[in-house]
């Protein structure tokens, strides 16, 4: 069973319907017609470019290119983690901690999944490596950003409690312990929810894609389970690492709470 070929004019039909929707929103004065069209255009351009990159990558099948692509994805994800925090750590730490923890967790899990579990030949075969890493990074990014945002924001709100606990002679790990656990939990929650709802409330995107591409549902399900576990591992360890590093950075060598290391929220 082959996938039915999609040609550009068929996409144009779908595009016309999006334009129709934009026209409707303009008539109804929702003020969204412009942003809707811009977003739709961005989708076309970005995906087309990625398509070109992937075509080249798949054709070359060289480890260097796969690694370069992976690094580019990692840096973009690191920037996104930083941008999503209300009170981020200053001096590049927000970017550094987010990127390092995503690197440690996502890359390790991706390499392990490729070499030990799936085992394509060669192990870095881009058809497997890049989509796997993309899904891992995308979800880890969400978890790490949520957890770090929660950590710094709660620490700022509860600075009185933290300092009072320090005054009573508690080590910094104890003084911020509750907040740290809350932050880690908030980073892990989305993935636990996703696993709990998988297949019942939503059909996961990758599985849907594979089924559309003609894979037998039983195999697609196995791949999806593998991906869900990999994502959970990546997000979980990434969140734990990021919160551990982030909370350490909130205190200095004398175990003082240093909220001057956080940026003021913008807007």
């Amino acid at each position: 069973m082959d996938v039915i070929e999609l040609s550009w004019w068929q996409l144009a039909l779908a595009a016309m319907m999006v334009v129709l929707l934009a026209a409707c929103t303009v008539v109804m004065r929702l003020g969204m017609g412009r942003s809707l069209l811009v977003a739709a255009l961005r989708t076309v351009i970005q995906l087309a470019l990625v398509g070109l990159v992937l075509e080249a990558l798949f054709a070359a099948e060289r480890l260097v290119w796969v690694v370069l692509m992976a690094l580019a994805m990692l840096l973009v994800a690191g920037r996104e983690v930083m941008a999503r925090q209300k009170r981020r750590l200053l001096g590049g730490w927000a970017f550094g901690i987010g990127t390092l923890s995503m690197f440690l967790s996502s890359f390790t899990v991706a390499v392990l999944t490729l070499t030990v579990v799936i085992g394509p030949e060669p192990w870095y075969r881009p058809q497997y490596a890049i989509p796997l890493l993309g899904m891992l990074l995308g979800n880890t990014m969400t978890g790490v950003a949520l957890a770090l945002d929660r950590l710094t924001d709660t620490a700022w709100r509860q600075r009185g409690v933290i300092e009072n606990r320090l005054m009573l002679g508690e080590p910094w790990q104890v003084a911020i312990g509750g907040i740290r656990r809350e932050a880690m939990r908030s980073g892990l929650m989305p993935m636990i929810n996703a696993m709990a709802a998988a297949g019942v409330v939503s059909l996961p995107g990758m599985m849907t894609g594979q089924i559309l591409a003609g894979t037998a549902p039983a195999l697609a399900v196995k791949y999806q389970i593998l991906i869900m576990f990999a994502i959970t591992l990546g997000t979980g360890f990434g969140t734990l690492a990021a919160v551990s590093m982030g909370s350490r950075r909130l205190f200095d060598g004398r175990e003082r709470l240093r909220l001057d290391r956080l940026a003021a929220p913008q807007g």
Partner: protein
């Protein structure tokens, strides 16, 4: 919690048992050119069991000086408790010995009692004008005055080696204020804690202070008339 002032005491602190079985500290608190914010190079010796009152206009840096002595903010200079320098101990060990009690205390567990390492005696609660069941109270229902008194009791029951009190009676009426004063004074003399006490009220300063210093123009000035 592993590190306390007491266990280390057998090796570092000079404690002696009194008749009541509580440790008696014999260490001075010494400030050596402590500088923070506007405040330049404060040097001060506080003898065991001595209360030195600090006064000064709001914003003159009294609280920040106490925070510097407790090592809660980056600062210049050094502080000593007996033979031990602030910088030679990990932050939390120092703060466990030199305990700062802020004017506004914070409570993070469900009930008051969970904040106490061991239950204080009922007589202590009574001396502070608190009900005997105060330890079972929900922290949400504490008034500011109750928070302040329980905050003092919480700090004192951890058996520090020195006390830094930031307006310990700020939220109390006159009668309760004098109760708390008397209780603090008795504990400080009994245990021999060198104490820095930030106060506004001249009457209170006259009642408790061994010495009185005023912070003005970023310096510490001696005030000696009030209590002689």
């Amino acid at each position: 919690m592993a590190s306390t002032c007491q266990p280390a005491g057998s090796r570092h602190c000079h404690f002696f048992s009194t008749r009541r079985g509580k440790a008696l500290s014999e260490e001075c608190l010494r400030l050596d050119r402590v500088a923070i914010g506007e405040l330049a190079e404060v040097s001060l010796d506080v003898a065991p069991g001595e209360i030195v009152c600090l006064s000064g206009a709001s914003g003159s840096g009294k609280s920040r000086l106490l925070r510097a002595v407790a090592d809660l903010e980056p600062h210049g200079g050094e502080a000593w408790l007996g033979e031990r320098a602030q910088s030679s101990l990990p932050g939390h060990v120092w703060r466990r010995c030199v305990m700062l009690v802020p004017a506004e205390s914070h409570w993070w567990e469900e009930t008051v009692g969970e904040h106490f390492p061991q239950e204080p005696e009922a007589s202590e609660l009574e001396a502070l004008g608190l009900a005997p069941d105060a330890l079972a109270w929900q922290v949400g229902r504490l008034s500011t005055g109750e928070k302040q008194r329980l905050g003092l009791l919480r700090a004192v029951s951890r058996e520090p080696g020195a006390l830094l009190l930031d307006e310990p009676t700020a939220n109390l009426d006159d009668a309760t204020s004098e109760c708390v004063e008397a209780w603090l004074k008795a504990r400080i003399h009994e245990r021999g804690w060198p104490t820095l006490w930030v106060a506004h009220d001249r009457g209170q300063i006259a009642r408790v202070a061994g010495r009185h210093r005023r912070i003005a123009n970023g310096r510490l000035e001696e005030v000696d008339a009030a209590w002689t």
